[in-house]
Symmetry: D3
């Protein structure tokens, strides 16, 4: 049993690596909600701004979402079954959180959210807009992970909703299919199963994105080629200041549980940017953290900064003792 979620995993990892982070959501006050709070607090995340709602004893009003994950191997893919209808967070609405105070008085430097939260409900989409606008107004950097989930909404709805959010995004993150399904930009040369990825097509597409939305200052993209349930090729590209930076390519990477890999990239990448690392190092840190995160079960990071730096530097998997 693990706690996780798009923004949660990023905040968790950054807190684990010594940064002060907070996470805001709407949680039900029952043992499952407490489990999340406890897990969050192990990393030192500030959860004092979470909106708590009482539990009705049945799960009619507000629930904690559950995901059941099968881990794949060979030709069998990993599968996630969502049981996340009617969750407390899906009922979040404008006004629940005082974003102005948070981004202003509390002096937040970076705000991260993304497409899963936005997709949960129309009121969540409202909250995404409200919070991103407030962050933008306060001078807080806004990053957004497109994170398309076909079970949560259609591509058409995603594009329609996300278009309103893009003007407030400084740093855009996505994987192979997100740009197409959430922003409506096509990549030339992709095959249906995404087994081989056309790097040049990606770059052209990213250039179109930043030309269309000049407010976007950086774009981080993970590239995953699924060799099998156990083995993936993994790497990342970062666009920054007119240039592309390729991470080390992790050929034939074994993965214990691929869920959370994108958030692993995102948190490593944001860590780099917030520490003023050069772009190449940022993308390497993101890719290395994503690779390591996929070597353990669960969505959140269990590795150390020392391990990340070792892998970024091309270090081997030789035993440490």
């Amino acid at each position: 049993m693990y706690a996780g979620g798009g923004e949660y995993n990023v905040a968790y990892a950054l807190s684990r690596y010594g940064m002060r982070t907070g996470w805001i959501s709407r949680l039900v006050d029952n043992p499952l909600g407490q489990f999340i709070k406890n897990h969050a607090r192990t990393s030192g995340m500030d959860v004092s701004e979470v909106v708590w709602v009482p539990y009705d004893g049945v799960g009619r009003a507000d629930r904690i979402g559950l995901n059941f994950t099968e881990v794949g191997i060979g030709v069998r893919a990993s599968v996630t079954m969502y049981d996340r209808g009617h969750t407390a967070v899906a009922h979040m609405k404008n006004g629940d959180v005082d974003w102005t105070r948070i981004f202003g008085a509390r002096g937040v430097r970076w705000f991260h959210t993304g497409g899963i939260f936005t997709a949960l409900s129309d009121t969540c989409a409202d909250v995404a807009l409200e919070s991103m606008r407030a962050a933008h107004a306060a001078g807080t950097i806004v990053s957004y992970d497109l994170n398309f989930r076909s079970k949560l909404w259609s591509s058409k709805k995603a594009i329609e909703v996300t278009k309103k959010l893009v003007p407030y995004i400084d740093v855009l993150i996505g994987n192979e299919e997100d740009f197409q399904k959430v922003l409506g930009f096509d990549v030339e040369g992709t095959d249906e199963h995404l087994k081989k990825l056309p790097i040049e097509g990606y770059k052209n597409m990213v250039q179109k994105v930043v030309a269309t939305y000049p407010n976007i200052r950086a774009v981080g993209t993970t590239l995953r080629e699924v060799v099998s349930g156990l083995v993936n090729n993994w790497s990342a590209i970062m666009y920054y200041d007119g240039q592309f930076h390729h991470s080390r390519r992790y050929e034939n990477l074994e993965i214990e549980d691929r869920v959370g890999g994108g958030d692993g990239f995102c948190s490593g990448f944001v860590y780099g940017l917030l520490h003023g690392m050069p772009p190449q190092e940022c993308v390497e840190m993101g890719a290395a953290h994503g690779a390591l995160l996929q070597s353990t079960r669960g969505d959140t990071s269990m590795v150390t900064m020392e391990e990340i730096r070792h892998v970024m530097g091309g270090g081997s998997a030789r035993i440490k003792r």
Copy 2:
């Protein structure tokens, strides 16, 4: 991880002891729904009348209910946290099932339902009425377990709804507090914590019930005195044909998991009635089965008919080898 439910547990047990039973519900077609179907089929229950609905991938439309149970010991009580809002079965409505065909063409002898199903939603209350009426019309015996759950509805609502159902009940089942909370009949001399139960008060109350509703031909009541989380006193009383029959009293009964005890009584009791056993034997079988069911984890029966008969006969817990 266990499958269970009021009617489910009764059908499961009777099927396990060689009777042909079926169970009707509304289930979502996802791995949790399949888990229930699989578990049901191990006992041989007929689940062909279950209404299946597709899963929306998220749990917004229809879910499978979840209960999280802590098993108590000492002064710590068992606790059940329900996560059963928005379940497929709560969305059941009149017309979903062709009750006339089932009680008529399929020749069902006995129909059992109860207060948990009725409490799930207004449409479930409608279905309870529809199905009980149809059973009654077809000459099928109707049993009803009052099963009050304060987390599902108020006593006021329960009384209001249940009053409409009582005219169709032949066999009424309840525990210590059900008659008061669901039917509105008081028992004199009960203390708040139900540690010591006033047997005479119960009998008076049952007599009032059957006087008010002469269609009720039998009443089965379980009596539980909670000594501690591990140890309970347990017994049952049956009213039949103007007379009361007391089961053996299980003094200082150790319980591994008390959930399902009432259903264990109910299934043993119905088994007796359907096999034409004398009333005393019916109540003994119910009480013995309930005692045994509480000696294993989970809601459904894992014991054998041989063990039930052994315990009914006052048999000891001496090892069999």
Copy 3:
């Protein structure tokens, strides 16, 4: 703890994919026998024709067979230790089952058995002959999986016994070594460890088999090259109507537990034939199902038809969410 067996696994899988199947064996009425019955019933298999024998309390007369399996990795092979002497099924004999009624009155379309059952005892070999003859006489299609097991009998005995059965076989199934050890047909060019398989040699051998036994209308063969304990190359060939059909080749397939792979092929293959699929699709379905079955622990299928079709179509192991 898993239930499994050659014919059992095939019936289980076909039932899981919506077909009406039954399975006949001779079982002891103890908790282990009940475990098998329960597991079978989860898939909906009809086990009403199973011959039940009482348990003597000790396991002297009739037992349930046990297999202890170690799952290999690297250079360590999987190992199965059998503890299946004196099983109830090994004591099956002619007359125990009324095959004429089953294949006649119950209208069975397809009958599947194979070399493990036949090898259990001389009376089992008798029953194989009796049942296959009865099926043949009733116009039921007979499939037979050669399934050589050196721990159960010698190649010499296998050939001698199987020769009498072959005239009643319509569809023959085997892996690389079965044809040689059970039917006595050599494949040219095989090395001792079966690391690289000579496809042409197989085809020549199959053509000799069907020339010798013209009653055999289809032959399904799985081809496994053991790269390591974790990684195998896997594919299948089907001979039908004078032609060979090659499945997709699963290069470097990771396997979680290789036991049941052949039965996985067989059930997929039979599914195709019974649904009137073209031969190429039949062999693809068999190979895909076999590949998927090896991605989970235990002998029986845990995957869905949707996953099979996805893999048959060359689909990737990309996460579904």
Copy 4:
């Protein structure tokens, strides 16, 4: 998964407490046989005289016996399902072991066997006689635990066989029902379920036994009153030199797993006799060890001599830290 057996448990415990012991049986050379050898050697038992037979790969010729145990609670009794037919040890026969060398050249002081081994087969009964005679001739003390098991043989057969063995017994051990079922001596005043035990009746019976067989110098009897699956009353009586010695009575003793309790008594008792303790101390050590052994899962002793002495001395279950 545990290793155990009547004689085995006694040898294991005595070795654990620092004595040199050996254990002789007939085992199959497969992973289960090796498991037993490994477990035995952890206590330092000498297993060099075990007769090993090769495994046929299937379990047709010789098996390792399996027992499946359910642990009871409340009204549910513990149940043991034996799967011990066709075991290697059941095929033991006269001449397999050179008893003369063992009791002579190796200087064994004490030989212990009992009614489970004797019941396994006619050839085992022969071996019991052969070995006890050889021990007797060599001046080795012979102890015998009557250990009646109704699943292994009838009382009639037990009496018939055991009568031939009794002349060679020096120390006789049994529980409440053994004397009646295996030797044919009745106890007056026992009820069918053995819930309350008539101590005086036992004493009279024991005196009849020693009068009939004056070679018996000591008799150890365990007395168990089964209050429930979790709680038993437990004590023991020793007859020695014309006198009875009662152990401390363990009222309302909680038991984690009652299997092995009798062997726990036996090993403690023999330990005392071999160390020249006075009779009262012998019976106390036996009863204390039996009580402690029942506080852990499995048949063999996991407690320390320090714990035994603490309990013998009436010590409490207060935490040690």
Copy 5:
């Protein structure tokens, strides 16, 4: 695997019930130290004042202490094996922590420590004195749990060291044997095994203690009678303002794991005092919390305030649903 410790358990529980608490220790920066930090942060404890030392990779310089606990039942007592030599905290010394800043600038209202920490080493005894003096000087209330552990020091040494600390204690806590072993005050009428406790003797002893040390304003004492490994009688007495207050007596309380019971009392008791509850309520809260804490595995509290209040009020262990 659990985290725990005398002061830790108290801080953990109070934080769990909504109070702001902190915990100070000296920890090694390795995965075990991080495990403790993570566990502490789940309850919201402030661990920012913990003194961290690097790990030498081997455990020569500083370790995290380990306790291995066997949970008893029946006549078998729970046993704790300490592996806590050379721990980082045992190497704590005066000056490591700026107590003046903590009790002064940070405004701590209550300081709790006790005899386990003091016993770890001579430098720990120095730190106990330094910190208690600083707390006293800052007007912080000081509570001290005598907590005698015979494996850590002798009674003679304990008395000698503790005498210097007593002048700074406001609230004294202890169990049955602590006053004698740590302070040197005898209780008349105790038996060696502490099975029956002489209440009057205790009261006399407590009065002598407060007469000798008038700075002690309250004394909390837990009374445990060990019926068996599973069942204890449990209660508590509080001396305050010249009067004794007896808690509810928990007769035949079942315990899942008795470790942490005293800390459970202490934290409930302190909670009451800090919330200005009347003395009777304070001792009831302590006793109830201690009873509940012993109903779960591990040293730290897993129950809710609602459960504590329910038990304090004499509530039954009847299921909540």
Copy 6:
């Protein structure tokens, strides 16, 4: 939970394969020490020369060392955290063991120790010298596994201490980095991460070693190329009588747990030498055993001689049944 250690693993494996072995250490008499004794005795190792010391109840005087191992996958390396300071064995000193009697009177043919023991403390280094000298004087063959562990000592200290031991070594064992870190001999052409190993450089280095220390008659070296956490290339070289013998190269070997691989090589290698196998066979047995040992969890061998011979002969990982 596993028992293990450099010399222990070698003795365990050789005993498992039928040789008489003993193991000498200094152990604490607590449950952890008993766990090691029990585990050792399962293989038949003689542990009668182990020096036992009492436990102080706290772990201040003498402890059993603990290692916590994370098993790596993908880019995440396995990690071992040692908690082995202040262990009983680290306090071993000259005179604790009567080496003259052991190598003389008990007729030991081979003595194996290595760099982990030597590194534990200065007194352990003394004992290494004392024991190796005594073995040498008695004509016992001495093998030494360099086994460098950076967490235990520096390379500088290792070289200084080991130089005194080398004159007594007959058979030297090491992996890629040991010769450099422990003996001070460089290999030309190694990269920092040891991903690709320069075979020729190794050979040159080994020749320098034997030229410098002509008493060394054989050198066994394991070569590991770490492809990933799951996959390594593995092989070994043996220098003997002026010639090099290369084992089969295990390309892309999957490893379940790499700890113990070197000891697996060592024990296979010594087995070959003691059985008079030709050098090529010795190095093959070592490499095969090391490969197999890494296919199971824990440090000690769980495979059979039959499996070793199968793998040595190039046998495949095809299932055995």
